[in-house]
Symmetry: C2
Subunit: 336 residues, 2 copies
């Protein structure tokens, strides 16, 4: 198992990537890991983190690959990927492309990871559009939402492929035998929705290899109505970010509300461990990154605000995809 | 002030409509109200509710208009409006159309209210598509989201008109002098989004009569980033329903979490009044109904699961629109 991690990705900088990499190397003795980025930065953080323990065995399985360039969060993605072949993202993806690594993980620019995935690693033959997929902890189960932003305007046929790729992902990495697939829509009836969604409904009914259960209304998503939720990248991105925002705001409202009366203060203080536990359950850093499904290799985008724990989770997720041969199963599924 | 209320609308039936109507008549001595629906049903509930008090003065301002037909929640809307001219929805809307009432309120089929609004009351000249608008209690202010479901596929020009109509609504009924308008998008930068949204951004920059502040990401909506949030009806409907679902599910998670430990139980019990207060703040029944902006009359759709309090709120909202001449101000704004 050989994983490449973009050392330069994410808001928190090199340190959390180095820490996450070390944590993963210690956890998984079968794994080799390549950190790609500015060598000096990587060495500096490595020394600081392993101060005095630089001879631990896990480090024997760590390689540093120098990539002098960095793609910034606000660079135009396609252009940046083309102009910066020696950036950490492109160098890392090329290791996957050339068979020198099994998976690439980055908390860097989403656009650049997607563009690099598309144009450096390339699509699986037959896949019209790869999709970014997020596994979300709904109340009664985890739901995979895709696409969450790779394709803002979608053809109905793409949505049908998303359903198939998402089903394979859930079956292989989450052990769900016959994942339920639903189409995110504004009503339960077959004829509801915009033009794209209406046509997608008809295709999903016919799509082999999936267990289509019909439409899912946004109201029911947080309860956990399906294993795979299909939508275009605009709607998926809105759902994903709106959920983050709503959870954040409701906790703030509850906190402020409890603080505003003495009785609330006392109750809140007593119940504090419970609130902490609930917040942890809704914490995205446990979910890992978002796989870019449909490219010909394992590519995982970790959240921009990842801490070391989130980087570790994204690596764990990459491992699951490699171990369970998700890419080659998608290949077989698409060709059928 | 003459309001028409659809007595047959909503999941809870005639009783909550009659109760909401009576509450409003008692609150507003300047108001006349017509209940439209099956006369027998209306009389029955009226007698039950006013038992012994049937001679109170508020009842002098109440009229019952018999409409033998009812449009069900699952009837095809356009067809139902055409085939059932003597339904409560169509009869009620015709009073507005003919100038015999100032506003129509219904908790019935959304599709039928929209179709009836479009084809019986009619569009304001120059309005391309009327939009359904919901006022939502975000943390720091109320935001009006439109469209929330009248138009699932939108042209960019329609979105620009939604912005204008929403701004007028917020200025006139909420007293916000220079309402901030934002475009719901998946990124803050001008070039983000799907094709419709990208073009709408350019139109909104040029649209006179609005205070456009740029894109708003879904993550930031619950905090309250703008007074008017513009999006197509598919996205707006997803946001609206997803917010309902998320609030519901988080409260369930918190409740279950508190119950699962003794410490949580004690803290939760002590903080219970605070939770009740918070839940009330997020309660849609205080918000009132959703105005159908762009039709040539005041048409308010109340939530299908309205209680008497929600019906009262929707009537209050209709009054605000009439008193502040929202329809004629939109007329002036569109013609300019």
């Amino acid at each position: 198992m050989r994983i490449v991690l973009d050392a330069m990705g994410g808001d928190a900088g090199v340190r959390v990537n180095v820490q996450g990499a070390l944590d993963a190397l210690r956890e998984y003795p079968d794994m080799r890991l390549t950190l790609v980025g500015r060598e000096e930065d990587m060495r500096g953080h490595l020394q600081a983190i392993t101060a005095g323990g630089g001879n631990e065995p896990a480090l024997d399985r760590l390689t540093l690959l120098h990539a002098p360039d960095v793609i910034g969060m606000h660079e135009a993605p396609v252009m940046a990927v083309r102009r910066k072949p020696h950036s950490s993202i492109v160098e890392g993806l090329m290791l996957v492309k050339n068979g020198e690594a099994d998976a690439f993980v980055s908390a860097g620019s989403t656009g650049a990871v997607l563009a690099g995935g598309m144009f450096r690693v390339g699509r699986i033959e037959g896949v019209e559009r790869p999709a970014l997929a997020a596994l979300f902890p709904m109340r009664t189960r985890k739901s995979l939402i895709l696409d969450i932003g790779a394709n803002t305007d979608c053809k109905p046929e793409w949505l049908a492929q998303f359903a198939l790729m998402g089903s394979i992902y859930m079956r292989r990495t989450q052990g769900i035998e016959n994942p339920q697939v639903a189409l995110v829509n504004i009503g339960m009836e077959e004829e509801k929705g915009n033009e794209t969604v209406k046509r997608a409904y008809q295709l999903l009914k016919e799509q082999p290899g999936i267990n289509f259960i019909g439409n899912a209304e946004a109201r029911d998503l947080p309860e956990g109505v399906a294993d795979v939720l299909v939508c275009d990248g605009f709607v998926g991105n809105v759902i994903l970010k709106f959920m983050e925002g709503t959870v954040h705001t409701i906790f703030k409202i509850v906190k402020d509300g409890l603080k505003s009366t003495n009785r609330g203060k006392v109750g809140g203080l007593i119940a504090k461990p419970t609130f902490k536990r609930i917040a942890a359950g809704l914490d995205a850093s446990e979910v890992g990154g978002t796989p870019f499904l449909g490219v010909d290799g394992v590519v995982i985008k970790a959240h921009g605000n990842s801490n070391a724990r989130a980087i570790f989770s994204a690596i764990r997720q990459a491992r699951l995809m490699v171990e369970n041969r998700v890419v080659s199963i998608i290949k077989d599924g698409i060709i059928q």
